[in-house]
Symmetry: none
Subunit: 195 residues, 4 copies
């Protein structure tokens, strides 16, 4: 086992601190001072490891998206390759997994979403993610329906996921992940049977 250098320790530490601080005080008030304090280290070091605040912010966003992607792939690997319903359910399930429902993650994500409209780098990262979700869904759906229809249904499911997620984000009771899965499943079953 190689000895970990400081970079491998500090970076995740600061990324987690960033999410925690955004969760506590909001993106607007998440200063490097607070993030450093949360991580228990000097704020100056953020520049050392991330080249500035925006670097840290981008790394944090990438971290969240990577966690989601990894989670989806992990779930998919446990499901038969031709069980469309189960694979869609796996994708949806990961989008509402306990990690994705972590309050800090949710708030950070929404903050990024808003911020991405004005920050080209964040925007690019965000759009890659959007397209990937659509792509995952479409890939599975194409087994059961024509391409055009698969595209439409993929859009619908993606919208359902994001819509329920968005509405849950502001709800003080948090999200109802069972409801989310149920809604998508009902829709999908109905669609496959009757179209």
């Amino acid at each position: 086992m190689p000895k970990l250098g400081m970079p491998e320790v500090r970076r995740p530490q600061l990324i987690r601190a960033t999410m925690d601080v955004i969760n506590q005080v909001g993106f607007l008030n998440a200063t490097v001072a607070k993030i450093g304090q949360q991580a228990g280290i000097s704020p100056s070091i953020i520049n050392h490891y991330f080249g500035g605040k925006s670097g840290l912010v981008e790394a944090t966003m990438r971290s969240i998206l990577k966690d989601l992607s990894t989670g989806i792939n992990l779930r998919l690997s446990k499901v038969p390759k031709d069980d469309t319903l189960a694979r869609i359910e796996a994708i949806v399930g990961e989008n509402f997994s306990s990690h994705q429902q972590d309050e800090a993650v949710v708030k950070t994500w929404l903050a990024f979403w808003a911020q991405a409209m004005h920050d080209p780098t964040l925007n690019r990262i965000q759009r890659v993610n959007e397209k990937r979700l659509l792509s995952y869904l479409r890939l599975e759906l194409k087994r059961s329906m024509p391409h055009a229809q698969a595209q439409m249904v993929a859009i619908s499911i993606a919208a359902l996921i994001d819509g329920i997620w968005l509405r849950g984000a502001l709800n003080p009771q948090g999200m109802n992940s069972n409801l989310a899965r149920q809604v998508v499943q009902d829709y999908l079953l109905l669609y496959i049977k009757h179209s």
Copy 2:
């Protein structure tokens, strides 16, 4: 006697300027200086009319939500009271009306959404709006299906609206409102016919 009736002129003027500035530089960088400049008047006067920046921000959000509410009611007034499909379509249509797709409105709304997670006042305003949309939809759906199902379908449609809207917000090509209406309509028809 001073110039009277200025509040009626200045308030909408400043609210519009706020949206424009948020559109241009983002919520984070929307300073009172820029808003005043955009409106062509002194920034100081924002305090005169709104008691501070947060007052202006809240007024802006209320303005957007009121526009949406007014638009929905207007559309509904033109549709037969028992034509469920047409009434749902009216609600959906207004959510994707040209005014609601105005880039400044879209960006402002998303900015508020993110901000509302940390600002109690904005949060309250936002939640009222969420519940109202659900309530509108449920009211119409109850004519065509049992209460429990109406609630479920209302949640789904609301999620579809918000999800499509959210995904469109980041898309540089803007939203595809026809697609939005189509997706919702397909979904609705599926439910009404086959369940």
Copy 3:
């Protein structure tokens, strides 16, 4: 009886409002807006009647000093011209009269005192007042002792008056005017008997 013009009404009204506001929020936070509000009239009018805030401030200080001077003369007019002890007592008594102990008056006076160190106009007004008190006292004392001694005793009594007044100004229980008179009287009796 002549009909009073507005100036005769507004000026005392604003002067009183100034003292009340200084009492409530301190000299530092006594803005023209608050003073206008306290008087129930528009702040703009202060410029009309006093030519600006500093004009109002100076007028307020003059008003307080004039009240003191008037009060002293009134008391002296009721005391035999050769009763030194009684005349000194009259002067001291007026300095601790109920009007001079009015909290608003006390706070305003002390605020002026501090301010006078940096405002030439206020300084001039203040010094006239100081010299007048000394002059009053010396005039009475000269009947009972040599000039040089009268000067010294006058300084002592003036210092006692101001010192007790100053210490009382910060005391939340207010001043003890009986104590003040007693201290001065004891001192004077002792002095006249034994020197």
Copy 4:
């Protein structure tokens, strides 16, 4: 490693600059910008070391009072413990020492006195100081007279000190410390001998 020990350098530096600026332009116009400029450093650092302007102001007041207290104790330590007259003279003398007559110190003190009426923290500091002076004096006087009288004389001497100091503060020629000591001494001799 950063430069260490800066707090010990910066804090006195900024406190002195505060007094100098108050002396030059008055408490009302003593801005952090001017104080920073006077100290030759960036105004921002005031927040770093004192947490804001009010922190600096309080520290400045405490510094002045501590200097006085230290000076009194030093003088008292050089005087026999039972020589009442000499000990009172030591206390009075320090109150009119050259340091306490420093124009900046005098103006700052008076400014604080006025300010203390509206600032709870300053008020508390100020009252501690008042009581301490009384306590010092009473302790010495009790050796030479009954308790009740000692209290009365202590109040009188404290009033004399403050009154003479206050009158001197506004006098452009500054204070006459010899006169001050003389007045107090005469007063005291009168009381000790003849009552």
